[in-house]
Symmetry: D2
Subunit: 134 residues, 4 copies
């Protein structure tokens, strides 16, 4: 059991949101944030860095949004659904755009973009699944 | 002239967004993020901490969203308008809710909530002004 | 295999730091950041919030430091060892202090502090293991 | 009067650290974080991006460290001096290395690196001034 799941179960408050969907979203946001940070770093190191400018830009933004989304949905004590939804929407949008850009470079052999694309796709899905519940 | 304004002018790219509105939004997001971080800390230290739970929660979230919004709109090279708008919307929503909560406690004499309310109101306005331009 | 490990292996640069120690540190920082964010939120929601002030303070700081440490050691292209070490030291210090505070409350029955303590202890260990290698 | 200064004065706790030095450090960290985020973005957009890899790397790290340092020293309720010092040291180190790298590119005509260098130098100074007091 991941810490995020243990923390939800140990929380003194009672939030009527599915524990699985919530902990999955938190974990996928964290993983995606890290993949995006590392992908931007790898892109900068590539010989073809000039062709990867948009990927770097989108990865840096996506890392930041995923990070803040993981934080906000981890705070469940006074859960504000309007705020959570707005953040999850921004995160899903970011993952969608970043995932599409990474897919493009993955097809041209960039393995870090392939991993990052998968992280973005999974995170987008988890965000959308949670949006449907909040 | 603030650094944020100098950085916009020094950027090699050409973004057709009003420099004043953009630099004001960046600066107001940074100031609001800091005010919210400090307000949450002050609320925790108050004798009446138990009555300030929602304020702490909203301030922590607002600090995180303002922070990430400042970062995203500071990256103008490959400016993605859909992404910027989604983030600015989440930020404006957060500032609105947090500002209203702080206003409530400001009226009861909490000076840090009064300062934080002002920071939130100003930041919400700057975000909305920028949303209209992107 | 976690994404952090896959990203290290897919990176175009060659960093002579043990892949296991690096990816473990990244993952443990992310997990600890999340546990600390959630523990602070749970502490604020507790009836005994007034006794948990120091725990809230340390958890919020620890979440921030763990977060930035994960980012910095995820960027390996131009790895600056002095910078990495300074950040890892700050992170290990934070995890040590926060872990000790959580241990105190865990003994008094706070389950979220028990989970957070474990996350802090593990993260401190991973940071120290990486410090020895950079 | 900046919000950071107003927040220090409005805080219910009593911290025996010079208000000027503390608020200056907070503000300089925020300004430096923003300048570094914008400088990294501008560097990626430059025709000579391949020569700016180390600058991008250092700016991204410096933005993250400055950001977290501003947060940590903004939380004064339970001020932990060991933790504050470790973070301020990491921040000063980062600003020093990043400022030197930006200086190099500033001399070759990169205006955004010139602005960023100034932000880093100022922030390093403010961090060192605060380290002497905590």
């Amino acid at each position: 059991m991941t810490y995020s799941r243990q923390m939800i179960l140990a929380h003194p408050g009672s939030l009527d949101i599915d524990t699985d969907a919530l902990s999955r979203c938190i974990d996928d946001c964290l993983r995606c944030a890290q993949a995006c940070t590392a992908c931007a770093d790898a892109c900068v190191a590539e010989v073809t860095v000039a062709d990867l400018r948009r990927c770097i830009y989108l990865c840096l933004n996506c890392a930041d949004i995923c990070d803040v989304t993981a934080r906000i949905v981890s705070r469940t004590a006074e859960f504000d659904r309007v705020l959570a939804r707005a953040t999850l929407e921004a995160c899903a949008t970011s993952c969608n755009v970043c995932g599409a850009e990474c897919e493009h470079h993955a097809k041209m052999g960039m393995v870090h973009c392939e991993v990052c694309e998968e992280a973005c796709r999974t995170c987008e899905e988890s965000c959308r699944a949670l949006i449907a519940l909040v």
